[in-house]
Symmetry: C2
Subunit: 222 residues, 2 copies
């Protein structure tokens, strides 16, 4: 029997930040909702100071809105913002993918194949939980990783989190994702062929289709 408590990595602040980020992106809060700080304290078993620091970071990141003297709320969702986010993804991820294909080396190629493989394994198990989401994010990160711009990567990451607030509305629908999942492998194939023209076209299509799905989710959402 092991009586050693494993040392719990990071600060309370950084842990609650990551947890809240995950839950905000994953739709655990309703859009527009005012966050009751005391309730969060209990729900996540965390002190007030680290919690407030995390909320402040999330507000600066864009996953919360902060109003002076009246705390934090979950940002509203809107059609126009979804359009904005999707358009920016088209521009920025397209740009980044082209550049990644220019600069990516053989290590990147290996990582791409690995990331795609791990994602496919998760696709077929069909449960599509937080595990799948994580692999999916990682896959898209890998696609653009060697684009050469840390700021571009940063913005893309932020847009993904925002986009996923829409995509992950409502229940899982595995059948609709079929095409999207297939495109992941085609993206890898075109990247390996260094066909940046076709690669970008497919990336555009991929984002468009994701957008259609997110839009449907948003409209059905009530």
């Amino acid at each position: 029997m092991n009586h050693h408590v494993q040392p719990v990595i990071g600060t309370a602040s950084s842990r609650i930040y990551e947890t809240l980020r995950r839950d905000l992106v994953g739709g655990q809060f309703v859009a527009g909702e005012k966050l009751a700080i005391n309730a969060l304290k209990e729900r996540y078993h965390v002190g007030l100071s680290p919690l407030r620091e995390a909320l402040n970071k999330l507000a600066a990141y864009g996953l919360l809105v902060q109003e002076n003297q009246r705390g934090f709320r979950v940002p509203k969702l809107s059609r126009s913002e979804l359009d904005d986010i999707a358009n920016m993804r088209l521009e920025l991820e397209g740009m980044a993918f082209e550049r990644a294909i220019q600069h990516g080396d053989d290590v990147w190629e290996a990582e791409l194949l690995a990331a795609a493989h791990r994602l496919k394994r998760a696709d077929t198990t069909l449960d599509k939980g937080e595990e799948w989401e994580s692999l999916h994010s990682q896959f898209h990160r890998t696609l653009v990783a060697p684009c050469g711009s840390v700021w571009l990567l940063r913005f893309i990451e932020q847009l993904h989190d925002q986009f996923d607030r829409y995509r992950r509305l409502g229940p899982k629908m595995p059948t609709v994702r079929q095409t999207l999942d297939e495109q992941h492998h085609e993206l890898v194939a075109l990247a390996l062929k260094r066909d940046s023209k076709a690669a970008r076209a497919l990336m555009d299509d991929h984002i468009q289709k994701s957008y259609q799905l997110a839009l449907k989710r948003y409209q059905e959402h009530a």
Copy 2:
């Protein structure tokens, strides 16, 4: 005599955030420096809690780097990051300016002229202090304001703050800014003519020249 203290707007946290942002962008801290929180507390006459909340926000915004358990430091400067920031400005501000020219209405035209005029007045007084910086930021914000994308505007704002960390290194050199200042009016002229092709070209040139200046500052910086 007026004994009423005027009510000091905003929370302590939001005020120290703005102050620190200004000072970080304005070069009041040396790049790479570790921030001594207690020293900041005294320097800015602010309590620990609001100060830490502001530092957390600034870290999420990219004007500080946070290392678990070892506080905050001012990000290092590097040639490659300056190049990255300038390139991203070229892409994003160019895009935004073109869109602004498509969508901007007559109210925008008036605001453009006003912003350019205020900036010119500040140009000629030649003292180029924090006042000029503020008007300069406002002018560039106005140029792209009606681009239709809040995320694009957000990213551009962030890049400007990052860029200015380089541009504002070292002492003021009014003569070098001559060309830049003249371009401001030409940008307005082309915007009013709705000549988005020429406007973008000039914007590109403007950013390039700013980049040359910032690069020189960075290289001379020691």
